[in-house]
C-alpha cells in the first residue's frame, strides 16, 4: 500500500463527504438555525436574568450570549458527529459501506478518514455560525480592519477586514473536539443494530450531554444549585470540549480540558475501531432468519 494510494483515498473520502454536505443544504441551514435559536431567543431571555461574573478565560464581565457561544459551537459539532454516525449506519444498511470495505485499505484507515471528513464538514458549520453570531451582535473577538470607510446605511464601517487570530487559535481545539464527538458517534453507530434505533440513542446522548455541561451555565453556578448535578457536569466530556473551545477562542489553553478531550478521543476511537463490524446488520438478519427457520 503506497502513501500515494492512502493520500488519494483520503482525499476521495473527504471529497465525497463535502459533496454530500453541499447537496444537503437543509442540513447546513439546520446546523446554523439550531444554535441561532438558542443564541437569539434563549440567550436574550437569560441575558437579563443571569449575570456572569469574571471567570477565566474572560478578563471582564461578559454578556450571557458571549458565554454560551462556545457551548453552541460544541453543540454544532456534537450534532454533526451524530449526523455523521447516522450516515454510517445508513451506509451500512444501504450497502454503500461495502464499497469502502472491499477496497484494499485497512479498516482503521477508512474509519479515521471518515472521521476527519466529518470534522472538516463541521468546521464549515462552526465558522459560518461564528460569523452569523457576530453579525447578530455577539461580542466575540473582532475582525481586524485593513482598510475601511464609514457609511451611512450601516452602524459602523465597511471595507476590507481580516479574521482575528483567535479564529486560528480555536481551530486545533475544534478539530480535537470534532474528532471526539465523531468518534463517540462512530462508537454508538457500531453498537446500533438498525437505523430505526438511532433517533432514540441520539436523544439519549445529545440532550443530556448538552444540558448537563458548562455550555449553558458555569460550573460554579451549577454547584450552587445542585451538588450532584455539578458532579455530573464535571465528569461529562462535553463540558471539557466546551471549555477547550472557550479558552482557545481567547488564545488560551485549558490543560485539563485538553487532557480530557484527548483522552476521551483515544478511548472512543479505539473502542469504535474495535467494535466496528460492517457485516453486523447482515449477520444479525441472517442469524435471526436462521433462528426463525
Amino acid at each position: 500500500m503506497s502513501a500515494t494510494h492512502l493520500v488519494r483515498a483520503f482525499r476521495g473520502i473527504v471529497w465525497r463527504e463535502m459533496l454530500r454536505f453541499l447537496q444537503q443544504r437543509e442540513r447546513f441551514f439546520a446546523a446554523l438555525v439550531r444554535p441561532l435559536v438558542w443564541l437569539i431567543i434563549f440567550a436574550a431571555g437569560f441575558r437579563a436574568a443571569l449575570g456572569i461574573s469574571i471567570i477565566p478565560p474572560y478578563e471582564t464581565y461578559i454578556t450571557y450570549d458571549v458565554y454560551i457561544t462556545p457551548g453552541l459551537l460544541a453543540m454544532i459539532q456534537l450534532f454533526n458527529g451524530m449526523q455523521s454516525s447516522l450516515s454510517m449506519v445508513y451506509d451500512r444498511e444501504m450497502g454503500s459501506m461495502r464499497v469502502l470495505l472491499t477496497t484494499p485499505l485497512p479498516r482503521w484507515f477508512l474509519l479515521l478518514s471518515r472521521l476527519f471528513a466529518s470534522v472538516i464538514v463541521s468546521l464549515f458549520q462552526v465558522y459560518a455560525f461564528i460569523i452569523v453570531a457576530q453579525l447578530v451582535g455577539v461580542q466575540l473577538p473582532p475582525w481586524i480592519p485593513i482598510w475601511t470607510v464609514p457609511v451611512d446605511f450601516w452602524p459602523g464601517e465597511l471595507g476590507l477586514v481580516v479574521p482575528p487570530l483567535e479564529y486560528l487559535t480555536v481551530l486545533p481545539a475544534l478539530i480535537l473536539t470534532g474528532m471526539m464527538f465523531g468518534a463517540l458517534g462512530m462508537l454508538l453507530s457500531s453498537t446500533i443494530k438498525q437505523l430505526e434505533n438511532f433517533a432514540g440513542i441520539m436523544n439519549f446522548v445529545i440532550f443530556p450531554m448538552f444540558f448537563a455541561s458548562s455550555a449553558l451555565y458555569p460550573l460554579w453556578k451549577m454547584k450552587e444549585g445542585s451538588l450532584w448535578l455539578y458532579y455530573i457536569c464535571l465528569y461529562n466530556p462535553f463540558t471539557w470540549a466546551v471549555e477547550l473551545i472557550r479558552f482557545a477562542l481567547y488564545r488560551q489553553i485549558n490543560w485539563t480540558a485538553l487532557s480530557v478531550v484527548v483522552g476521551c478521543l483515544v478511548v472512543f476511537l479505539a473502542l469504535s475501531v474495535w467494535a466496528y463490524d460492517p457485516s453486523r446488520g447482515i449477520q444479525q438478519r441472517k442469524a435471526g432468519a436462521a433462528a426463525a427457520a
Binding site: R8, R11, R16, R98, T102, S279, I282, A287, A293
Partner: protein, 260 residues
C-alpha cells in the same frame, strides 16, 4: 453427492482459490467445506436456490465476514496473510445497489477510483472507456437517482472494472432487470472475461445466464453439489438442459427459486 465434471485438460492457474471454507450464523451452518477455483479468462457461474449460501460465500471472499475455517486466496494472496491488501485484484458488484444516488455517475466513479488509488486523470480516462463499453458514456454527468435499474447496474459494473481487476465477483447483478438489459450484461461480462482475461465468479439463479462452456458450481444448503463445465454437468446428470440438471442435483426442491 459432489460431482466433478471433466474439463478441457489444459493446465489453468486459478485467480481465486476457495479451500475447505465453512461458516456459521450462530449455531446454523451456512457453508460446509466449500472448495473450488475460479480461472482467468473464464466465467464461473455459481448456481443455487435462495438461501444456498451464495451471498455468504461472497461476503467471505470480500472479507466482509471473516472465514472461521478454510482458506481463500485471490491471485495467490490469502486474506489471512495479506489482510485487506488481498482485495487489490478484486472487483465486486453486490446484489444490493451500492451507488450514491445523490452523486452523478462521474462523481461515484471518481470516488471509487480514489479509493483504489487511481489519479484523477487516469480515473477519468478509464471511466470514459468503461462506460462507453456499456453504452453509458452519454450519462456520465447524470445523477444516479435519475437512472433506471439497468443503467445503475451498468454503472456498477463499470465501477468494478475501473482498476482493471483480475477477479470480478458478481452477486446476482441482473436481479430485477428486463430481459434485453440482462442479456446485454451477460454478453458483456463473457466478452470481458475472454478479451481481458478476467476471472469472473457470477452468482445467479437464472439458468439462461450460464453459457455451456462456462465453469459451473452448484451450491445447495451450503455445499457444492456439482462442479465442472456447464455442458459436462448437464451431461453427467443425464438431464436435457441445465434447468433439469439443476433440479436433479438439488433434489427438485427449489423449482420455485430458480428460473429459466
Amino acid at each position: 453427492m459432489q460431482r466433478e465434471a471433466s474439463g478441457d485438460g489444459k493446465r489453468r492457474v486459478p485467480v481465486l482459490t476457495v479451500k475447505d471454507v465453512s461458516y456459521w450464523y450462530g449455531s446454523k451452518q451456512a457453508l460446509k467445506d466449500v472448495s473450488f477455483d475460479v480461472y482467468s479468462g473464464k466465467v464461473t457461474a455459481l448456481l443455487g436456490p435462495n438461501g444456498a449460501g451464495k451471498t455468504t460465500l461472497f461476503s467471505l471472499i470480500t472479507r466482509l465476514f471473516d472465514a472461521s475455517e478454510g482458506v481463500i486466496e485471490i491471485a495467490g494472496r490469502s486474506a489471512a496473510e495479506w489482510g485487506s491488501r488481498a482485495l487489490g485484484p478484486l472487483g465486486v458488484v453486490f446484489q444490493q445497489p451500492t451507488l450514491d444516488l445523490d452523486l452523478t455517475v462521474k462523481q461515484n466513479l471518481r470516488y471509487f477510483a480514489a479509493l483504489r488509488g487511481l489519479s484523477r486523470k487516469d480515473a477519468d480516462k478509464r471511466m470514459e472507456a468503461a462506460l462507453a463499453a456499456l453504452d453509458m458514456g452519454e450519462r456520465i454527468e447524470e445523477r444516479v437517482r435519475s437512472l433506471n435499474g439497468g443503467h445503475r447496474r451498468r454503472v456498477e459494473i463499470a465501477r468494478a472494472l475501473l482498476h482493471s481487476p483480475e477477479l470480478l465477483l458478481l452477486d446476482e447483478p441482473t436481479i430485477g432487470l428486463d430481459v434485453p438489459t440482462r442479456s446485454a450484461i451477460v454478453k458483456h461480462i463473457h466478452k470481458l472475461a475472454r478479451e481481458d482475461n478476467i476471472g469472473v465468479l457470477w452468482a445467479t439463479h437464472l439458468f439462461d445466464e450460464v453459457e455451456e462452456d462456462d465453469d459451473l458450481l452448484v451450491l445447495d444448503r451450503g455445499r457444492i453439489v456439482a462442479r465442472g463445465e456447464a455442458k459436462d454437468v448437464v451431461a453427467e446428470t443425464g438431464a436435457r438442459d441445465l434447468g433439469g440438471a439443476f433440479r436433479l442435483l438439488i433434489g427438485g426442491e427449489a423449482e420455485e427459486d430458480v428460473a429459466a
